[in-house]
Symmetry: D2
Subunit: 316 residues, 4 copies
């Protein structure tokens, strides 16, 4: 798979700020994709001031969607965004399936698709680079690298990751989700020029920003909190970010529980009226009824926090 | 995803014997699928006396093939088999992608496709059952259950696996690859009527047969050895199987080395003239040059073993 | 290992509140245990209002201490506590080494040792029960069960854990560190009467209290925050606990980074003047210099938070 | 932990051949160590022509023995060996417990103890080297490095392992149990001069010898087979080793089943009359009754193989 064509070096880096990782809402007993709710989600992020949205990420349950469904999701997101930049997650780890998927998504999405996001698929930087080269040459759009061992099964060192980024001029960002993330971001921030984003539901956001992250790229049931934190950091550094995001950390940690986090977050989105149903696709576990009172505690506090301002305008 | 149509209870179980898990051969710098080599492989299995073949299994690198390539592979296998039964592996673990893939493969394969093979996707038998029900209702062919935690990431108890099989009349076989396999097969053999097959390159075949397995469903560079062992067991029980397969175990163990087993097996198939190139798709590691002398040792011994007879006819 | 003597059913449950898991401080190039710093730590917890302390837990690096060192540590802790209740962690998972260690620690600790803490060592409740029975019969003190898969390698269901607790009248508490912890605590709180404690550095404390936990049993560089949270919950429920602990969550999450959490926490304890050196024993990684500015951010904020009151008296 | 005394560079390397890893037999309901059976085991290895024995390895259930029991075991083994070289396995991974244990074992064993065996405890060669330096300086005997990720949880590259061996003149051997073992041994054989031993119950022995191993260091219920294989390799290379060991591979693979392998091997040793009881300590699972007929198959074949000669003298 030798390089066949020159790779343009002028890829625009992703804008700093909050990139919202979209849930994929389902409806009815057959759990078809609920495009109406999906549109509402995108519109919500646009109004909230997100830098862009990421469809088909891990939180978007992309691995539970058929190729056809993924194409429909990206088409809806691109159309609903009204020009807002869109990144499409690519779940497979091998080159041929990733290339096939990227081609399919690019065709469905049109110009709104500014990047695809591929997972690190080897600890060896040369292997990753060849993989991304092939992907970029075929689909022609910029690439966001996602370093998320929980999903990829691969652990790569910050140094090897920097080598990948340095060798791939079409890389538009790195999504750093290999804990300890702040330590990795501190190392990468010294050695690469592409923007780095924290993820993991925001649990380490304050430190990731302090270490040099350009923002957050993650799902969270109250993205207003993430946006407030990133804006506060830009304006006032660590202390301001800490003041802005501390009130949201109880909820971020509640959502960050392994296994059930997806179901918790969709249930809150449903209660906020952003999506119609909170169903997740099997074999992911549903929302545990035991936790309903705790969820209500958090949501009540979150709504109160929203009303109190948090640096956000009244429109939410 | 409620059941919509009755499931026929008369699904034919897979025939006992050896089901060959096919390598997917690639050729050239672009590693396109080499359909000519693939056809030769199928023809080889047919002449060797295999009960059938399995395309797109883990050894077939299915997770590194695009949907389009997978359809082409199954079409070639079905056509080359000349009526030999074909099972198609399904790599995804979630329902929608599995259904999409099965539909696509069924259309490409035609009547030769007698079953699809799906991985266990939950420790909960009800979750697995609903998954398989949806798959079967949509694609209409029998289902082989693969219990292979290394690929699926899921550990299910033999009891729960038996419950799945008991509740799914369209299950045509279980491929048991969760060690200790002989113990699991002994338990399953008492509680389910579907045929059980050993896998894992044959390293536990003698015991799996003794515990009640109907045969082997696996890749091995010298399937003649597997066939000789299964026939010997049918004719003479444990001692005969042991005598027949002991000379092949050094090679089976050599191939069973984690990580590099795929590359070893393809390299031997290449040296046997069955496939034209031994390349594996990245990020799987290639054949370590260090091991070439060892591979030659094994192949020399294997050829000598073939000539010595092993209960097989001269045509190999 | 049949039961030989009756087990008293009147074991006193652990008192609710915060149980401080002690760091084991080392000094000098040989990294000998620094008993003077250890004493200061214990005294600090006593004055801070902890319900008790836990020596030789995972955060106490017990697995890096010799048997002799462990005995010396528990002796110092018991003596320095001035009557404060002490729990001793037991790192081994098999019965004979645990019994040997418990006997040794009990002798060294004297009456201050009110319980030993043993890890879940099997998913099978009968196996765990027999293990704990043997331990209790030999050492004669109450047992705290620690469910921490990261350390034990064992995953047990909440139902099986409840069965263990129900069958072992000498169990004085369960330390719940198998995420999602709030879901597990909600289930356990309905079925067992022993007190449940959250751990994991307090990242889920607010939810664990809401789900029924009696407090926290964990290490944290500012235990004042944990104590304020537990007291606030007792007085004002979720909202009060949330208000009290939100300002501490940025630090709790910073400390909770896998791998380096131990080094972070010891470094903060050192900067607070509670221990003389922050060294951790190999092969645990030391504090990454890259994170020093972030640590200073957190510590500055924490000191400011302490001064602001947080429901704590001035003596800290 | 700076080096305090010079390390002698003249450490004798372990002799090539088969080093028998001893089971620790237990008796009675209390599962006390059965020293009489242990002595019989040692005597058996001596008569069988083993190069030496390894007590307290993973197969010796060392992690389930108290420190006191481990000292008694090594004393019995040293005394029963009548001068046969003895290696003592060290289960802990941290320096202080390993040093404490080695000191205790050395005192109990006397002059028969020619080496202790320590596990790789870090992927970083400097960390491992400091660990082994401290161990050797304190206990004064040679060190065998065990690279067994299943027990240690650590994965080290062959290059890093070679660096450790090169920097530690007191290393007497490396036990290579990180699959693919033949590939690792091929790399190590080119770069280090210390003898390399295969383990893992002998499943890869033929290839390990071909790759440059000096022998096997493992448990196996019929060590006669291992000895025959190693002798055959010395006399006739790969083909001779293959002919000698092929008849033993069905049993080696049967014993190599994860989880239950320990119980299988002890049950066969019991049926051979080498140990009185086959009990294993909890939480290890016992021998599954389902597999009794299979075990009998193997044992009947093994006895027949012994009688047939296998290059061994009549005394077995």
């Amino acid at each position: 798979m030798a390089k066949q064509q020159p790779i343009s070096a002028d890829t625009a880096a992703l804008a700093p700020g909050v990139w919202g990782v979209l849930a994929t809402p389902f409806h009815g007993p057959g759990q078809a994709v609920d495009h109406r709710s999906l549109r509402a989600e995108v519109e919500f992020y646009r109004q909230a001031g997100a830098a862009g949205v990421v469809a088909l990420g891990v939180f978007g349950e992309a691995a539970s969607l058929s190729l056809a469904e993924q194409a429909e999701v990206i088409a809806t997101v691109a159309e609903a965004g009204g020009g807002m930049p869109v990144v499409a997650g690519l779940s497979p780890r091998s080159t041929a399936p990733v290339v096939e998927l990227a081609r399919c998504l690019r065709q469905a999405a049109g110009a709104a698709l500014i990047a695809v996001m591929a997972q690190v698929n080897s600890a060896n930087p040369d292997t990753v680079r060849r993989h991304l080269d092939t992907l970029h040459e075929d689909c022609g759009v910029a690439v966001v690298i996602q370093d998320y061992p929980v999903a990829s099964g691969v652990t790569i060192s910050p140094g090897a990751l920097a080598a990948v980024a340095a060798g791939c001029p079409y890389v538009a960002a790195i999504k750093c989700e290999a804990p300890p993330t702040a330590a990795a971001i501190a190392i990468l921030a010294r050695s690469v020029s592409v923007p780095l984003f924290g993820g993991l539901g925001g649990v380490g956001l304050i430190d990731e920003l302090a270490a040099g992250a350009a923002g957050a790229m993650t799902g969270f049931s109250y993205p207003e909190g993430l946006i407030a934190a990133v804006r506060a950091h830009a304006a006032g550094g660590f202390d301001a970010a800490r003041d802005a995001f501390s009130p949201w950390l109880p909820l971020a940690n509640f959502e960050n529980q392994p296994g059930i986090g997806l179901a918790i977050r969709k249930e809150i989105l449903r209660r906020r009226g952003l999506i119609a149903e909170s169903a997740v696709r099997s074999p992911a576990p549903g929302f545990p009824a035991d936790l309903a009172p705790l969820l209500e505690n958090h949501q009540r506090a979150a709504e109160s926090q929203l009303r109190a301002g948090s640096g956000l305008s009244r429109r939410f």
